[in-house]
């Protein structure tokens, strides 16, 4: 198992945002997390990446407990994420965003940087080349020198995904990567995610675009009011009456 989540719980005030969630993630799997707004999906991401501390429950990644680790330590362990509301380094170039995403690949610290340590130039060159290769892979190479904030929205989303991949993580948490994308861009993204899976990357995907979710996800977990109401393959989820109820209300029928 790549990631084992057991009894994960987090309250905000008196409200349980996430309530005893458990799931196991396999390697090379796209695991989708869906549910209505406020169901606790992003909270799960914040808990996995250490941005929030759980009230109860355990997180084990590649056999190692993530309890008490800070976000940067969890990134170093091999888990990166994107943000629902883009958190690009807007004033930095597209290339620099990727290079910053590859921060963990480098070693040059403060003092070595001040002294322009001989090894650091070589390291910098390597990180730059790898960043350019990644940009080429996602089709952003031509925009490498533009400030990230100057990119059209769809490209910004893609850059955010690429940045999360730059450090070579084993698990990437994608928070609504298709939000705001047009249909061509969404298709492109879905194809890219499938390609990443073939390369052995594991992903947890939070996404509202059901077409994309059904197309790319191996398994889907449905949350409602912080609780798991269903877990299964896309086909199972589509046929699940609980899910239909949560999404559409009691009396509706779904074609």
């Amino acid at each position: 198992m790549l990631l084992e989540v057991e009894g994960l719980t987090r309250h905000f005030g008196g409200v349980a945002a996430v309530k005893e969630i458990s799931f196991k993630l396999k390697k090379s799997e796209i695991f989708a997390l869906i549910g209505p707004n406020g169901a606790g999906k992003t909270t799960v991401f914040n808990l996995i990446t250490g941005m929030l501390a759980p009230d109860a429950g355990s997180l084990v990644f590649e056999g190692m407990s993530l309890a008490g680790l800070k976000p940067h330590q969890i990134a170093a362990a091999g888990i990166t994420r994107t943000f629902q509301n883009l958190q690009l380094f807007g004033g930095m170039t597209v290339l620099e965003n990727i290079m910053a995403g590859a921060h963990l690949k480098g070693r040059t610290g403060f003092l070595k940087a001040l002294a322009a340590w001989p090894g650091s130039a070589r390291e910098e060159k390597k990180i730059r080349q790898e960043a350019l290769a990644l940009l080429k892979e996602v089709g952003l190479a031509g925009l490498a020198d533009l400030p990230a904030a100057a990119l059209p929205f769809g490209r910004q989303r893609l850059l955010e995904v690429a940045r999360a991949l730059a450090s070579g993580p084993r698990l990437v948490l994608l928070d609504e990567p298709a939000a705001g994308l047009n249909s061509a861009e969404t298709k492109e993204l879905a194809d890219y995610l499938k390609r990443l899976r073939e390369e052995g990357k594991s992903m947890v995907l939070v996404e509202h675009d059901m077409e994309t979710v059904m197309e790319v996800a191996d398994r889907i977990m449905v949350l409602n009011f912080g609780e798991v109401i269903a877990l299964g393959t896309p086909a199972e989820i589509q046929a699940n009456p609980e899910v239909i109820k949560a999404y559409l209300g009691e009396d509706e029928q779904v074609a």
């Binding site: 941005m51 509301n85 807007g90 004033g91 910053a100 040059t108 403060f110 020198d145 400030p147």
Partner: protein, 378 residues
């Protein structure tokens, strides 16, 4: 002007003239035409020429001016530049404000003074200690406060600055109280004694140059990129594996070390030290210099220090003409006015006139919010 517009460097170069010496520039043929490539190398040559010209200017300047008063002002400006370079890293890159730089400046000064007089340390060793001690103190203050977000460091350093100033005043025999310590020896480095202003001027020039070079290296590096990333989005920086607390702490300690270095040099220059130059008022002036000069610009610290020092001198002469009997405290009104004017007409600071800041004003990003909002979502 129009030509200058065209040869602006791409975002991300530090706007530093020496950048081309180190920069490995990758050109993407699909986006950038041949002309801009030509412009870029031309621009790099221009920048180097500017740095060289400025350097030569400062090398020959003491030969042109015969006044010790002006030379003294230049030396002090150089010392302030060292402090403001450090503060610029903290403010412009790590996004933190310190209102305690005058205290680190003073700690460096007193450390050098006390060690070289009462303890009879060799002056270079005392100067080294003048850098180390403020650095250690900064690490102590920074460790708890930088874990907190926002402007806690500003508050902590503000309190710290006032406290240290009181300690200088009330330090009894150790600090000499309000009248300070006298008889500090001249700095001597391997037989070379800096006993005249002109020698000291060149020493300060060399230190400013060395510090600028080191900081230029830093900004171009992985660490510099991480510091900028923290300023842009701390959450994303953390998620990318950056230890933001450590990086901010390092930037803070570095700024304190530089302020301490300037303080040590100051003590060996004036050979006398008292609490008055290290008040909270001075800390505010350092912040003013950093902002007016332009955060994240290469020339900012020099321009900001030069302008504020020159203005201070001019006001000292001019204010009593307008308001009879007015003391130095009136200066702060004028500094306030200048700060407002700069913020209104040139928010990037004076340095941005010559080179755009590394991180420009952030154009509006769609859906930009803190992670605290996203916690509630999904």
């Amino acid at each position: 002007m129009r030509v200058l517009e065209k040869i602006r460097p791409p975002a991300g170069t530090a706007g530093c003239p020496a950048a081309c010496l180190i920069k490995i520039y990758k050109v993407n043929s699909s986006q950038i035409d041949f002309n801009s490539v030509v412009n870029r190398s031309y621009e790099d040559m221009l920048k180097n020429a500017v740095v060289l010209t400025v350097l030569i200017f400062f090398l020959v300047l003491p030969l042109l001016i015969r006044s010790n008063y002006l030379l003294g002002i230049l030396i002090v400006t150089g010392l302030y530049t060292i402090i403001v370079i450090g503060l610029g890293i903290l403010m412009g890159y790590a996004g933190q404000v310190s209102f305690g730089q005058a205290a680190f400046f003073g700690l460096g000064g007193y450390t050098a003074a006390i060690l070289s007089t009462s303890c009879s340390w060799p002056t270079p060793a005392a100067l080294l200690a003048a850098m180390v001690l403020p650095g250690l103190v900064a690490a102590l203050i920074g460790r708890p406060t930088l874990k907190l977000k926002e402007l806690y460091l500003a508050l902590a350093t503000l309190a710290f600055g006032i406290l240290v100033h009181i300690l200088f005043n009330e330090g009894g025999e150790i600090t000499g109280g309000p009248s300070g310590l006298m008889g500090i020896p001249y700095l001597s480095l391997g037989g070379l004694v800096f006993d005249r202003d002109i020698k000291f001027y060149y020493l300060v020039l060399a230190v400013v140059l060395l510090v600028s070079l080191a900081v230029h290296n830093l900004i171009q590096s992985r660490t510099g990129r991480a510091l900028r990333a923290i300023r842009e989005s701390e959450h994303a920086a953390e998620a990318a594996g950056m230890d933001t607390v450590l990086l901010k702490l390092q930037a803070f300690v570095f700024s304190a070390v530089l302020a301490g270095l300037a303080g040590g040099l100051y003590a060996f220059y004036v050979t006398f030290i008292s609490p008055s130059p290290f008040s909270f008022h001075m800390s505010v002036q350092f912040v003013l210099m950093a902002v007016v000069g332009g955060l994240g610009t290469f020339w900012g610290p020099l321009l900001g220090s030069g302008l504020v020092v020159a203005l201070g001198e001019a006001l000292r002469w001019a204010v009593p003409l307008v308001i009879p009997g007015a003391g130095g405290e009136y200066q702060i009104i004028f500094f306030g006015i200048i700060l407002v004017l700069v913020m209104v007409f040139r928010p990037g600071g004076l340095g941005s006139l010559f080179s755009p800041p590394v991180h420009r004003e952030r154009p509006g990003r769609p859906g930009e919010k803190g992670v605290d909002d996203s916690v509630a979502g999904g």
